[in-house]
Symmetry: C2
Subunit: 386 residues, 2 copies
């Protein structure tokens, strides 16, 4: 059996694995040091009470012969798809354009299956590294980067007919696209026959005047797929639940719709997200759930902003923290990994090196505001004592 | 954007989707007919009490700041991997050779990523149709079939260096491979440099003297990956949990181990099975859980056997029901879909047409013993009244 020839070309480890390895090595030689983890962007607040209640109720139902259910539809329970179409997309889509997933990473892989081997892919830079890895692993993609150092990605530089990965609010920079920026990107995508995959995993963190969805822009349904997640907004990074929107208007260059292919492959390569997660998703999107979630998100954002201000007081150049729980810090005269080591060795704070998010992330680090309040407080104290 | 050229070559619908379409059409024109669903192999017994308890406990923990957890390791929590290594594989593997998944279908897709585009794949025939669809969709695989009409698949007919899909106990025929049959297959696989993916989703249903794992055979670690599931044995088809074993000894023809590639891709394209499912998996593999599960499986097997005997009494030729909850019925002078229609129109019983499991399934139908007891009883009454 021949090895997929892409593997020897990949970096040895996925970013967060690499951070863990370095962190563990440091801790092993400095066992007395209490490390603060602001690296991986993982939630720390407990599940909200009404969501706990919902999960318990579904579990109890599965324990009865009357209410037990096995397989649901591969694409997700109709009630949840309808709820997402209504609550998140204001009935701009029919429920069968919504596909329920176990999370964004899994759906990125499934979405790549729509495309040919060796496909051209252009990726916003810096951004979440899974787009790069998934495109390389799944389709041996030809990848180019669209730097956002001087503004939004310039889609005229994406190869004609290529797939473009966007993320807004962006992980790691914490910044969101404006309506005007989206309009320009959609218009270029239409002209250059691009497919956009927009990751809106942080949409619920938006507090400013930014679109929460690319579909607020006229014509976007013809060029864009949107992937979303309950991981960060609802503490579901361990419980797992997400969705993708594949509009029926989205067509390949041969005029064939991508929607029917995605439905076809979804029903073959996936058996649905956990019924427990799906039923809880209904509660998350209820008025009661949304209220609980908003409170949690507000406190994560506040933590990110406190971190940001502490670093600014030490003359660091920092953005983010307003539309996403991350802050993005310029390390003057340092590479990203030097910045990582600097925070680790001097402050005992584990951050994420910007280079892990793409070439344009070099010289930056990312800090997450998703940590426990006592960890954030201690990190701020250590920064202030620098 | 170009369409993946494999899609226009696929059958329009995945098997179980097609059955649902035909079933709904029949019900729409015969609204008074009470249909009995013995088609899709889905569990119907409620989750066992100790599993319900475990799911509730984890949920409650996730509702507290002290015990909340977000992302776990992508490959699964160490405790569960160790438990599977110990309880299922008798410490024949280290825990890092076990990968926890959200189910077999998802992992089949991930496993295909190890291989090159256009890979040669040989599939036991008839068997679970997801192997075919996944290999086609993921890798535009060149597929050949290994008929089991006259015994176990003849692996000398698999192209040298190809991937071979096996399933034991087999869905749909309900039959399991013997130790001698496995030995022969492993020996041929070693000689012909084949990769085997063995699906043991029904391993817990084995009651006779058959290996529950291919690794009981010497040398199997060099050629075989095993995929397993909690769906059928523990009623987790909706809750979602499975695993794959990728032995460190398994190498490509270039001598490079597949294990490190699988680990690399797993951490990039998947974010782990639900923590709720994983913690419950520990309970399933405890002595208390295993006892509950065994009782459920026994009753499913008994139902399959009762169905089998009712059909034999009507002179049908039937196998299965001893090592898996399915029975496999020869329809004399009928195609599979004619058999499907015959059972639907004359008995109001929805079955699965054998052709959906591969060319050698033509002329057969599959009935599932996983239905509710009252459904099985009513089906038997209708068969007896034929």
């Amino acid at each position: 059996m021949k090895q997929n020839s892409v593997f020897p070309t990949l970096s040895k480890q996925y970013l967060f694995q690499e951070i863990q390895t370095r962190r563990d090595a440091f801790q092993a030689t400095n066992p007395e040091k209490k490390l603060l983890f602001l690296g991986i962007g993982d939630t720390t607040q407990p599940l909200a009470p009404s969501i706990v209640k919902s999960l318990i109720q579904t579990t109890q139902e599965l324990g009865t012969a009357e209410k037990y259910v096995g397989y649901g539809p591969e694409v997700g329970e109709k009630q949840l798809r309808e709820k997402i179409a209504t609550v998140i997309y204001h009935n701009d889509f029919s429920s069968d354009e919504i596909f329920i997933s176990d999370g964004v990473n899994s759906d990125l892989l499934r979405l790549m299956l729509l495309l040919e081997e060796g496909v051209s892919v252009a990726i916003q830079d810096p951004t979440y590294p899974a787009y790069f890895d998934t495109a390389r692993i799944a389709k041996d993609a030809n990848i180019s980067f669209l730097s956002i150092t001087d503004g939004p990605p310039d889609l005229t530089k994406a190869p004609e007919g290529s797939l473009v990965f966007l993320c807004s609010p962006n992980n790691p920079t914490g910044e969101a696209f404006t309506h005007a920026q989206y309009e320009k990107m959609v218009s270029i995508a239409l002209a250059r026959k691009l497919f956009i995959i927009l990751d809106v995993a942080y949409r619920e963190f938006i507090r400013g005047d930014f679109p929460k969805s690319i579909y607020e822009i006229e014509g976007a349904k013809k060029v864009a797929i949107e992937v979303g997640s309950f991981s960060k907004s609802s503490g579901f990074s361990g419980v797992r639940l997400g969705w993708s929107v594949v509009p029926k208007e989205l067509c390949y260059e041969n005029g064939s719709p991508a929607h029917s292919d995605f439905h076809r492959l979804f029903t073959a390569v996936f058996n649905g997200a956990s019924i427990l997660s799906q039923r809880a998703g209904l509660q998350i999107l209820s008025p009661e759930g949304e209220k609980e979630i908003t409170t949690q998100i507000d406190s994560y954002l506040e933590q990110a902003q406190l971190l940001r201000e502490a670093l600014r007081a030490k003359s660091f150049s920092v953005v983010g923290g307003d539309q996403a729980p991350y802050i993005w810090v310029k390390m003057e005269n340092k590479t990203s990994w030097e910045g990582f080591d600097y925070f680790l060795k001097n402050l005992g704070i584990v951050v994420t090196p910007g280079i892990g998010f793409g070439p344009a992330g070099e010289g930056f680090i990312r800090l997450s505001g998703l940590a426990r309040p006592e960890v954030i407080s201690e990190a701020i104290s250590r920064i202030q004592a620098m």
